[in-house]
Amino acid sequence: MTEMDQRKKRVPAQILITIGLIALATGIGWGFRRLSFPETNIVVTYILCVLLVARLTNGYLYGIASSVLATAAFNYFFTSPYYTFSVYDPNYWITFFIMTLTAVVTSALTTKVKQTAWIARQNEAETSALFQLTNRLTDAVDKETIANLSVQTISEILRCDAACLCFQKNGSPDSSFVQQHGMNRQVRREVDDTESLRHRIENLRSPYDVNAEFYDCPIYGRESILGIVRIPVDTARQMTDAQTRLLHSMIESIALAMDRFISAQARVESNEEAMRQRDRSNLLRAISHDLRTPLSGIMGASEMLMSLTRDDEERYQLAFGIYKDADWLHSMVENILNLTRLQEGKLIIHKQPEAVEEVVGVAVAALSKRAPDRSMIVHIPKEVLMVAMDARLIEQVLVNLLDNALCHTKQNDEISVCVQVDTRSSQAVFTVADRGSGISETDLPHVFDMFYTTQRSGPDARRGIGLGLAICKSIVAAHGGTVMARNRADGAGAELVFTLPMEERADAETK
C-alpha cells in the first residue's frame, strides 16, 4: 500500500529526471554538431542518457519512454531536415530503429538489475530482522520474556509501538498485554474484554483482526493459539507487502519459540511429577521395609513370651494377641510393598515355565502354617502342568485368595484349590472356592477394587484394607490373565477364579 504511495509521490521527479537528461543529451549533441563530430557520437550520448534514466528511475516505463524520446529528439534536432520529424535519408530509419532497440534493451536490463538488487536488499533486511528476533528469543526463559523481546524487536523493525498479548494454556487471553513505549520502555495494559477478544480471534478467517487501536495477528502454536501480536492501526495501514511478509515470518518465529518453551515446560512438569511419584513410592517402600525388621522382633519376642507361660495364663493370651497383631501387620506391610511395586509399573515379571503343583503346594503350605487348624482340599491335573509365570507373584496371588477364603469362612467350612486346563482357550484355570456365606450382590462387582472392604463383617472381624484382592488382579493382569469372583452354583460359598495363558510355552520352546 505504501509502496504505491511512494511511487506516486516520486512520479513528477522522475518525469523531470527523464526530460532533463534527454535535454542534457540534446545539448551535448548540439555541441558535438557544432564541433563537427560524427553523428554516431550523438547517438551514443543518447543511449548513455537512456541508461542513466533507467538507473535513476523506478520501473520499466521511464526507460522505455526515454528510449522513444531520445530517438524522437535525435530525429528532430540532428537529422535533416532539422526541426522536423521527417527524414530525407532513408538510411536514418535503420539508425532510429537500432537506436531505439538498443536504448530499450539497455534500459530494461538496467531496471532489471536494479530490481534484483532491491529484492536482495529487502531479503537481507528481512533475514537480519528475523535473525535478530530468533537470536534474542533463543535466550528467553519464559513466555513473558518471549513476549517482551518480540514486542521490542517488532517495534524496532516496523518503527512503531507494537504490543503482544499472551494466551493462557486453556486458550483464554491474559488480562493484560505488554506494549512498547518509546525506544527502551515497555508498559503493561489491561485488556477490556478478554472473552470477546478470544471469540473474535478464534473465529478469525483472515490473517488479522482489526479493532480501533490495533491490527491483531494471532500467534498460532502447534496445538492452540498462543497469543496475538498487536500492530498499531496507523503503522499497519502503511506497511509494504514485504513488511507484512516479514511480520508474518516474525510471528512464526515467536510461535516456534513459545511452542518450544511450552514443551520444555511440559517436560519439566512431567519430570517433576515422575520424581514426586518416585519419592512417594520410595518413602512408602522404605517405611514398609523398615517396618519388617521391628515386626520380626516383636513377633519373635512375643513368641518367646508365649513359650514362657502356660496356655491358660492371662499373660499367654496377651502375648498371643501381640503375636497375632504383629503377624497381621506384617502381611499388610508385604501387601503395601507389593502394591507400590505394582503401581510403579516397575515390578519386573520374570516369567518362566513353572510346575503349577509346586506353586500351589507352596501357597497351601504357607497358609497351613498360618492357620494350622484349617484343612484345604487341593486338586491338580494328573499330568504335570507347566505354565509360564513369575512363581513368587502367583504364589502371592494364591496366598491372598486363600487368606481371603480363610477370613470369610468358619472353622469347619471347606476350602479348596483347584487347577484345570481349559484347552479351548489354552489357559490354566485356578479356582479357590469355599463353603462360607458367599459374596453379597453389592460386594460382588467391587471385590477386586483397591481399598474396597465389605461392610458386612461383624464388629469383631479383622478389617482388611482392601488390598489383597486388588494385588491379585494386578499380578494376574500383568501375566495376561483374568480374575473373576462369583458365588458357587452348587450351593453356598464363593469362588474366586483366575486364569493364566498357556501359549507362552510354545514361545519359550522355539527360543
Binding site: T293, G300, V359
Partner: protein, 232 residues
C-alpha cells in the same frame, strides 16, 4: 545325641531380633555369642570355637555374601542365613556360596531351633551318612547299595535319574538344595541352568512318592531357591 551347650555365633545388627534369638537359644540350651557387625563376627570366629553361625545378610559393614565366602575359605562351620523376604536370588546365591540353610524374616523361634538342630546334626553325620547303606524318612526309605526306594514298605519303580535325585536329597536331609546345585549334581556341570528338565523330573518323582503332589510331605519347594527333603 546332642552334646550340651553348642556354641552358636549370632550375627545380627538389629538389637531386638538379636535379643530374641539369643533368648530362644538360651531357652533351648545352646550357648551363644552375639555379634552385630561382620567384622566383629569374623574376629569372634577366629578367636573362639563355634559349632554354628547365624548370619543376617543385611549387615551394616560387609555384604553377607562376602562374609560367607571369607568364612568358607578356612572353616566348614554350618552357616544359617537370615534374610529379608524379597531376596530370592540372594538366598540362592548365599546357599551356593556355602551357606547351609536360610530363614526368612519374620521367622518363628520354633522354626529357627528346628533348623539349627538339622544343621548341627548334619555336621555330626556328614561323614557318617556316606557310609550308611540305607536311610529312612518317615515312610520313605532308600537303599543306597541296591538303588531301591520303598514307600511304606512297598518297593517303588523309579528311574535311575529319579533315584539319583532322591539319593541327593537323602544325603542332605533337611537342607535346602538350590536348583543350580541339584542340576550340577544330577546332570553334571555342563548342563547349564535350565530348570525345566529338573522341574519335570521332580514332578515325576513326586507323583510316585507323594499322595498329592500339590501338597508334598517329603520334598518341599522353596520358590525361587530350590527344594528341601523334610526330615522329621
Amino acid at each position: 545325641m546332642q552334646k550340651p551347650n553348642e556354641q552358636i555365633l549370632v550375627v545380627e545388627d538389629d538389637a531386638q531380633i538379636r535379643n530374641f534369638v539369643c533368648f530362644a537359644l538360651k531357652q533351648n540350651g545352646f550357648a551363644y555369642t552375639p555379634a552385630s557387625t561382620a567384622q566383629d563376627a569374623l574376629t569372634q570366629l577366629v578367636t573362639g570355637q563355634f559349632d554354628l553361625m547365624l548370619l543376617d545378610l543385611g549387615l551394616p559393614d560387609f555384604d553377607g555374601m562376602e562374609v560367607i565366602a571369607k568364612v568358607r575359605s578356612w572353616s566348614e562351620i554350618p552357616i544359617l542365613v537370615i534374610s529379608a523376604r524379597d531376596q530370592d536370588t540372594e538366598k540362592a546365591a548365599a546357599l551356593d556360596a556355602g551357606a547351609d540353610d536360610y530363614l526368612t524374616k519374620p521367622f518363628s523361634a520354633t522354626e529357627l531351633m528346628a533348623r539349627i538342630r538339622v544343621s548341627l546334626r548334619h555336621l555330626y553325620q556328614a561323614g557318617f551318612m556316606k557310609m550308611q547303606s540305607s536311610a529312612c524318612v518317615r515312610g520313605l526309605k532308600i537303599d543306597f547299595d541296591k538303588h531301591l526306594v520303598y514307600l511304606d514298605e512297598h518297593e517303588l519303580h523309579i528311574t535311575p535319574m529319579e533315584y539319583s535325585l532322591l539319593a541327593l536329597f537323602f544325603h542332605n536331609i533337611g537342607k535346602v538344595l538350590t536348583t543350580k546345585s541339584i542340576i550340577r549334581n544330577i546332570y553334571g556341570s555342563g548342563y547349564g541352568t535350565d530348570t525345566q528338565a529338573l522341574r519335570a523330573l521332580m514332578a515325576g518323582l513326586r507323583r510316585k512318592i507323594e499322595a498329592n503332589p500339590a501338597v508334598p510331605k517329603y520334598i518341599l519347594t522353596e520358590i525361587g531357591v530350590g527344594y528341601r527333603l523334610v526330615g522329621e
